[in-house]
Each structure stands twice: as structure tokens, then as C-alpha cells.
């Protein structure tokens, strides 16, 4: 079987397209690269969606935490503390246990039956956990940035007579984002790394549709050799990370475009915020 054929058969296997049975003999490098690469689609799916949703929720959380009203501040503080203070590993486990407790038949709301069993599937359940998790981490970053906005910027806004929404949307928020961006880049990278935990210990793989690490484990289980599949996963992640750094660097440049070139903060990779 040629390599192109393998790619056609297994390239989208993780989404349930193509051959139903996984390869079961003569494991070629091509098969391993194809299937593990196919699994990367799940890592990207989890990472991109969790980041996209998490970004908005994180903004809200950061504002709540910075609020003077205890009714907003306290819940946000607790939410952030719980999600940042416990291992993702345990969060996955508890979330799964909680989600499978939902009634099978669905929940009755105003006479309508809402189907809920899909929540215990990885594509939904794990995404929710990752979303909440990244929201908590990002909120802490945004909150820190919010507090380090130069006083002068705010005074300038006041001097222009800006108040309320205009002041927030045109001065505070852009500055916060600019200051937070390097740390937020790290958060994005580590969120992608964290997606490997989904099938590893959190959620069961359904119909052998799993992420990169799931297929790597499959090959290790069949070939009994850990020294090929796992480094392939590592390789894919290095490529993914480089892509991310490039993309976030471009955004960073745009966020800082008004500054003289020697003042621009470069994206420094420091592990401020991983799990």
C-alpha cells in the first residue's frame, strides 16, 4: 500500500472519515505519521475553540476580579483560584464524573426534553473543561495587565473627557491586551500542550477517534516500541508551537504598531502560566 493511499485512508480517521479499522500489522512510518497527524486535528480543535471562547470569558472574569463590587469580585476570585490551583488532570476526572451523572434520557425543561448525553463525550465535555481552565489562566494574566496600565494613559483619557465605555474600549482594553500579549502567547502554547491530556486520562476515546497522543499510544501498544510514535507526537507539537509563536507574534506587532520600534515589547517565552 502506497503512502498516498495510506493518507487517503487514514488522514481523517480521527474524525471518523476513511477506513474504520486502524492498521493492524506491518506498521509503517507513513501510517504512524498519518494517523498521529490525523489525531493532531483534535488537539487543534480543542486548542482553537477553547482559546476562542476562553478569550471572551477571560476578559469578563478579569474585569470582575478588578471590580470594586464584592458580588462580582468574590466569585471571579474563587473561580480563578480553583481552576489555577488544581491539576488539569483532576479537573478532567471530576468533570467527567459529574457529566456522566446527567440523566441519560435528557432533562425536561418546560415540557421539552433537552438531550444532554453528548456532554460526556470528549468533544463537548473536555472542551468545556479546557475552556474554563484557559479562561481562568488568561483572566489572571489580563487582570495583572489591567493593574499595570500606566497611570498616565488613564489620566490622558480623563483629560480628553473620555468616560465609561469609550474610556474602557479605547484606552484601557487595548493597553491591557498589549501588556498581556506575551504572557497570553505562553498560555496559548501551553493550552495546546494540555490538550494531550484529554484522551490520555480524562475522557474515553469513542470509536477509536482520538488525538495525537491516543494514536501514538495505539502504535506503542501494537509495536511495543515507544521510541518512534512518541517522538512523532513531539515533532508535530514543535511544528504547531512554531506556527503559534509566528501567529501570535504578528498580532503582537499589530498591537504595538503605534509605539516607536525600540519600545515594543517582544514576545518573550516565559512560563508564567502553565498548568
Amino acid at each position: 500500500m502506497s503512502c498516498l493511499q495510506t493518507i487517503a485512508d487514514y488522514g481523517l480517521r480521527s474524525m471518523g472519515v476513511g477506513e474504520r479499522l486502524l492498521p493492524r500489522g506491518d506498521f509503517t512510518l507513513c501510517q504512524q505519521f498519518t494517523l498521529i497527524g490525523s489525531g493532531m486535528l483534535w488537539n487543534i480543535y480543542f486548542g482553537v475553540l477553547a482559546l476562542a471562547f476562553g478569550f471572551f470569558f477571560a476578559n469578563a472574569l478579569a474585569l470582575a476580579k478588578a471590580s470594586r463590587q464584592p458580588a462580582f469580585r468574590k466569585p471571579a476570585e474563587w473561580f480563578i483560584f480553583i481552576f489555577r490551583g488544581s491539576p488539569l488532570f483532576i479537573q478532567f476526572f471530576l468533570a467527567y464524573e459529574a457529566l456522566v451523572l446527567l440523566p441519560r434520557g435528557g432533562i425536561e425543561i418546560f415540557g421539552m426534553t433537552a438531550e444532554v448525553s453528548w456532554l460526556s463525550r470528549a468533544w463537548a465535555g473536555a472542551l468545556i473543561v479546557l475552556f474554563l481552565n484557559t479562561a481562568a489562566y488568561s483572566a489572571e494574566i489580563f487582570y495583572g495587565a489591567l493593574r499595570s496600565i500606566p497611570k498616565g494613559d488613564l489620566e490622558a483619557a480623563d483629560a480628553y473627557g473620555m468616560t465609561g465605555w469609550a474610556r474602557f474600549a479605547r484606552v484601557q482594553w487595548p493597553t491591557m491586551l498589549r501588556l498581556a500579549w506575551p504572557a497570553y502567547t505562553n498560555e496559548a502554547i501551553f493550552l495546546f500542550h494540555a490538550t494531550t491530556l484529554v484522551f490520555f486520562s480524562g475522557f474515553p476515546a469513542f470509536a477509536q477517534k482520538g488525538d495525537a497522543l491516543y494514536y501514538a499510544s495505539y502504535f506503542v501498544d501494537k509495536t511495543f516500541n515507544p521510541f518512534i510514535p512518541y517522538p512523532i507526537v513531539a515533532f508535530y507539537f514543535i511544528v504547531l508551537t512554531m506556527g503559534l509563536i509566528g501567529l501570535f507574534g504578528l498580532i503582537n506587532r499589530r498591537l504595538n504598531r503605534h509605539l516607536p520600534s525600540n519600545e515594543r515589547s517582544r514576545v518573550k517565552l516565559r512560563p508564567q502560566i502553565i498548568r
Binding site: V100, P204, F206, A207, D221, K222, F224
Partner: protein, 240 residues
């Protein structure tokens, strides 16, 4: 000169180790009644008792080690222990990389357990432990495979309705079914997979394989193996 002394010392060492060879027995410790960690924190179960007996017969000192099922073969190959005695079914796939002893449990049935005896196990969602012969069987059967890292979780998934049925060694499921007070039932038909359960060793350890084989043969001949199987798996278990 120095070299010579070293060599003699080594010879003495090897000679010494040949007399009281320590064999490290690798097991999972999470598959009762085959092997599990008892309440004292020691490895216990059918395989513990069998392994100790075999070691005694072959005059070996045996040390028990537990390890994750996932890495159980690579760790053996890497020399972290010398045998796998963990309810491992003898399959052609595994026999390519391992040297198996003869089976010490006859080819046993794998069975489907479900909440409802009428469950269609050829369709639906079937839970099985990742990397087992049962998981491979479900994947090929046309049913939808739901995989978990430990056998425990597979049963939990069936109980909470996540999966329609769980597929595992029947001997593992029997006590769970017995204690479920009628909540669980057998579904579908039993399936024979593999050539029974045997010990897995490195291919190069031919001598050790022979020793254990001799022990198992002797235990089969005098009936003590059957006694042991009945003790741990109940009266209905298949014996030699």
C-alpha cells in the same frame, strides 16, 4: 592483573546469582481476581499465589513489581522486570515480541456484561480496556468501541449508561455480576479469544521460560493448578 581479578570477581558474582536468582515478576495489580493490591498493600490474587508456587518449585527468589498496563511490555523489554504475569492473553501479535510460557489458564471466554440482557452487542457502544485483546475484538466486530485506561472504568461506564455493555475476560466480570444483585446481566454470546493466559518473558530468557514451563506442567499434572483456579475463579471456571 587487575582485569583478571575483576573477571574472577564477576565469575563469582554470576555463579552466586545463578544459585539464588532473583526474578522480578511484573504485574498490573488492578485486575482482580487475577492480580490486585490487597488491603495490606501487597500484590495478591490468583497470579500471586501461582507465581510464588512456581518460583518455589524452580528455587527462584521472586520479587513482585506493579506497573501500568500501558507500558508493561516496553518495561519488560527494557529489563525493569523479568516476567509479565498479569492475566495476559497469549496472542500471535504478542508472541512476536515475547516468549510465552504455556498457558496457566485455559483459553477462557470473554463476555459482554450489560444492564439489560437483550442489549445488541454487535451494534451499540461497547466499553473495553485500551490495549487489550477485547478492545481489538470490539473494534473489529462492528460495534462502537469506547476505551478506558483501567478495567474499573469500563464497568463504571456501563453502569452509568455511557456504554451499552462492557467486554472483558469473563473471569473478571463474574464476581462483579454476582455482587450486582441482579442489576447486571450477560449479553450476547461469549467469545473465545487467544490461547489462554500465560506468562510473558523476554525472548532471550529461554532458560527461565523452561523453568516456568516445567513448573506449570507439574502443576497441571498433579491437579494443583486446577485447585488454584477453582479457589480464585469459582466452581464454574474452566479448568484443565
Amino acid at each position: 592483573m587487575k582485569n583478571l581479578i575483576l573477571t574472577t570477581a564477576l565469575l563469582a558474582l554470576t555463579a552466586g546469582s545463578a544459585m539464588a536468582q532473583t526474578v522480578r515478576m511484573g504485574t498490573e495489580g488492578a485486575y482482580p481476581p487475577y492480580n490486585f493490591i490487597n488491603d495490606k498493600g501487597e500484590v495478591d490474587g490468583f497470579e500471586r499465589e501461582l507465581g510464588d508456587k512456581l518460583c518455589e518449585m524452580a528455587a527462584l527468589t521472586c520479587e513482585w513489581v506493579t506497573t501500568d498496563w500501558d507500558g508493561i511490555i516496553p518495561n519488560l523489554q527494557s529489563g525493569n522486570y523479568d516476567t509479565i504475569i498479569a492475566g495476559m492473553n497469549i496472542t500471535a501479535e504478542r508472541a512476536e515480541v515475547l516468549a510465552f510460557t504455556q498457558n496457566y489458564i485455559p483459553p477462557a471466554s470473554s463476555a459482554y456484561m450489560a444492564l439489560d440482557a437483550g442489549t445488541d452487542v454487535m451494534k451499540g457502544v461497547i466499553a473495553a480496556q485500551t490495549g487489550t485483546v477485547q478492545a481489538a475484538h470490539v473494534a473489529a466486530s462492528g460495534a462502537t468501541l469506547l476505551e478506558f485506561a483501567t478495567p474499573d472504568e469500563t464497568v463504571a461506564a456501563m453502569r452509568n449508561g455511557e456504554a451499552d455493555a462492557v467486554f472483558a475476560d469473563k473471569d473478571y466480570l463474574v464476581p462483579i455480576l454476582d455482587e450486582s444483585a441482579g442489576k447486571f446481566a450477560w449479553a450476547g454470546t461469549e467469545v473465545q479469544i487467544g490461547d489462554g493466559v500465560g506468562m510473558g518473558l523476554r525472548k532471550s530468557d529461554t532458560e527461565l521460560v523452561e523453568k516456568f514451563n516445567a513448573g506449570i506442567t507439574a502443576m497441571k499434572a498433579d491437579g494443583s493448578l486446577n485447585t488454584l483456579i477453582t479457589k480464585w475463579f469459582g466452581e464454574k471456571a474452566v479448568t484443565f
